[in-house]
Symmetry: C2
Subunit: 123 residues, 2 copies
DNA sequence: GCTAATGATAAGTCATGGCTTATGATTCGC
DNA sequence: GCGAATCATAAGCCATGACTTATCATTAGC
């Protein structure tokens, strides 16, 4: 079912490239045509189109035809997925940190123990 | 001065690789040694160390020495930056969308309107 | 109709980065 | 101390991907 891992990959893959992030930054100001974006970036029109394809595939942009132009704008879909990913991780990280802090306090009493058995999780 | 763009780059660069994301997933369960991580990943110990270096550089993990081992765990710093980036973008995207929607409604009065605005739906 | 403009795609080039196998540096157990 | 274990680093290999220059498809304007 396009395992959420797929979306993850598409997202982080899309956001990895600085030029693509620059495109997103430009789109923050509102809709822009490919031509317009190209004029403000140090790469060719072809490159911009290729980047937009990747961004759209990741749900980060959408296009709307307008005459012989295509107006692109930021899409919430991808951003929402990214946000969900971060949030999930955020919570887990805090929990893990709390566990660690607690354990550290407990460890304070005895001398030293391996503290190696975090085995409660998955194999 | 490590312009926020630098952090951005380090972050997205770190999160781009699937193996590094897998490392983060493993660390969600708590602290783990490099050896432990290596045993659960299909790559060499060397590769894991290299990944951990990148992750740490992006503020996504931290290490704590424990004997001859090093215990790694998730760091909030990088996640916080990522979260801030998304939130900033999220707000802007919503604003831009609101502008667009408003404009679309205004445009409804005169003759021509895109009629194509897939407005609230996702693509 | 034809020409110009806009944007997507094809094909090819070149740098980047993720992996490997050594090897070095530290620390534990005997 | 010595050998074993853990981890980081060095050097090298190879696939991936970001870019380029054509070229094709569509639309506006004459």
């Amino acid at each position: 079912m396009t395992s959420a891992t797929q979306e993850e990959h598409a997202l982080f893959d899309a956001l990895h490239d600085p030029t693509r992030r620059a495109v997103l930054e430009l789109l923050r100001n509102g809709e822009r045509s490919v031509r317009d974006l190209t004029d403000q970036l140090p790469v060719s029109q072809s490159a911009v189109s290729q980047h937009l394809k990747v961004l759209t595939g990741a749900g980060l942009t959408t296009a709307r035809p307008d005459g012989r132009r295509r107006l692109y704008r930021v899409d919430h879909t991808g951003l929402g997925h990214l946000r969900a990913w971060v949030d999930r991780f955020w919570d887990e990280a805090l929990t893990a940190f709390a566990d660690y802090a607690t354990e550290a306090i407990v460890d304070q009493a005895p001398a030293e123990r391996p503290s190696e058995d975090e085995g409660s999780g998955d194999a």
